[in-house]
């Protein structure tokens, strides 16, 4: 009896600091945010005015800018995930080969990842404006003279490119770790069976790499949905609103336009959308993984 009581006492004492912290940082603001989202408030007036679901109606109208920025975020996310995973996997496969200096090259790809995204955004702002102009004078390659941050179409690709540049090293090291875990004897067996290097990669390596791919897809998904710092430094959302992400739109609504109520509503809708997308993607990948596992098991029987 005493022991059971002691167990509960310990359980409470050891977890209470962590529970208290997440309540203060996450749960209380989250619930307050839901309340704010039902009010009209400029953040300065003493009391928010309750207005029901009006903010949610405004939010889905075209004037609020939320849907446009959410659309941008989706486009960004798809292209970011695609590029960072494909490129990281390709570079990782090249860098699992053994040669002198390979670790130095791996580190070179990793360096941007340890830098703050704000600084990365500024560096590329400098490169796109000053660097490209200077290189154009030297090489007269036409693409260097394009308006990479000035035209809304190109600015989208610039933003994705810089995002990928910053974090590619992270996905490369994850894929390298995954590739190194692929058993050599399996690859050798495939070679003996006459599989060429392409076939070996797609038929043997890739299926065995599944856990790394799932990890990288999940991380690139959640990171790109929340993109903020890089774009703020690189384009400030411009030209026009062409590169305004959903998170930037929330920030602008609350802290620049002082619409705390509408900003909170956007924040809540953003949370729901992110939750749905990540859950759906995880379910899809889980199911697929289950299928291959089943197949593998079936083959063994």
């Amino acid at each position: 009896m005493g022991r059971k009581k002691k167990e509960y006492f310990d359980s409470v004492v050891f977890t209470i600091p962590a529970i208290f912290l997440v309540c203060v940082i996450f749960y209380i603001p989250f619930l307050t945010g839901i309340y704010y989202s039902l009010t009209k408030w400029n953040g300065i007036a003493k009391e928010p005015v309750f207005i029901g679901i009006d903010n949610y109606k405004t939010l889905f109208g075209s004037a609020s800018g939320f849907l446009t920025s959410m659309g941008f975020t989706m486009k960004y996310t798809v292209l970011f995930m695609l590029l960072s995973n494909v490129l990281a996997l390709a570079i990782a496969s090249a860098l699992t080969k053994k040669f002198r200096g390979v670790s130095v090259i791996r580190s070179m790809f990793f360096i941007p990842y340890i830098m703050s995204m704000t600084i990365v955004g500024f560096i590329w702002k400098f490169i796109f404006s000053q660097g490209f102009a200077a290189l154009y004078e030297k090489t007269s390659m036409g693409f260097l003279n394009w308006s990479w941050l000035g035209s809304s179409k190109l600015a989208f690709y610039s933003v994705v490119f810089v995002g990928v540049w910053q974090s590619l090293g992270f996905y490369i090291v994850l894929y390298i770790a995954g590739l190194q875990a692929v058993p050599l004897d399996v690859l050798e067996a495939a070679t003996i069976d006459g599989a060429g290097s392409f076939k070996r990669f797609f038929m043997v390596t890739l299926p065995l790499l599944k856990p790394s791919i799932v990890t990288c897809i999940f991380l690139s998904l959640t990171n790109s949905l929340k993109v903020f710092d890089i774009i703020l430094a690189l384009t400030k959302g411009g030209p026009g609103d062409a590169t305004y992400s959903a998170t930037m739109d929330i920030y602008r609504e609350a802290f620049q336009k002082n619409n705390y109520g509408l900003g909170s509503a956007k924040a809540i809708v953003f949370f729901v959308i992110v939750l749905i997308i990540t859950q759906v993607v995880m379910k899809l990948m889980d199911r697929e993984e289950g299928d291959t596992a089943k197949k593998r098991k079936g083959g063994a029987e």
Binding site: P17, I111, F270
Partner: protein, 279 residues
Amino acid sequence: MKLTQKRKIKKAILIIFMVLLALIYVYPIFLMCINAVKPFGEVVIDVIKLPSKPEWGNLTYVINKMKYGKLFFNTLVITVIGILGIVVFSSLAAYIMDRKKNRYTQIAKAIITTPMLIPFQTIMIPLLKLMTTLHFSGSKIGLGIQYWGFGVPMATFIFYNFMKTIPAEIDESAFMDGAGTFKTYRLVIFPLLKSVTFTVIVIDVMWIWNDFLLPLLMVNGSNDTKTLVLSAYSFVGQFNTQWHYAMASMALAILPSIIVFIFLQKYIVEGVVAGAVKG
């Protein structure tokens, strides 16, 4: 014979290609560094050319102007406070959640780890109001403490997954020797968590040191709490036509990370991989 030769050539071409690609990859960082030590005139004329004579004055100007030493100290204090709390509170919770499996710890686990699903931007508006009320905004300690809350869910999750690999017999024998739950944690379990603690430290240091949005919200213009990254941001905004000073402030802002990375790269990469796979 011929086949191996062909393979060798193929490999050589691949290596040359990768070396070139890596050089192009870090070229922007190189450009930033050389322009940080050029006189303004040379930046305007040609960004690519090496400086005719390094202008170290840019760096000293920026160091004085942005009060680099103070900013470095601020960022260090915030990061250290943040890391200490995250490691202690997460490992404590993870330890008991794994060792005492009862209804209460099950609920506690759900409460502590679920916030991993909540994006920062979803809660930032009310959080700012709450932290201002609590006088947690505009102070280094207040900012450091906020990172406890943000870091705990993920860190607890990582610690919890690692706890499973430590056999229960170890703490049972400590218990036989008369050690209580906390003493067992402090003397037996925590030392065994060394490798995973290191993982948590690596990923959280990189995050807190480089974090931008939380300091941006909480600092409110008070110079006392400005972090290095935040200050570089406003500095570049101020000097956005004087590229040589902008570049110097950026180079100085990332210098600490680069130095640490050069010396600890193996451990940093290991920590990052472990954190991603477990988290």
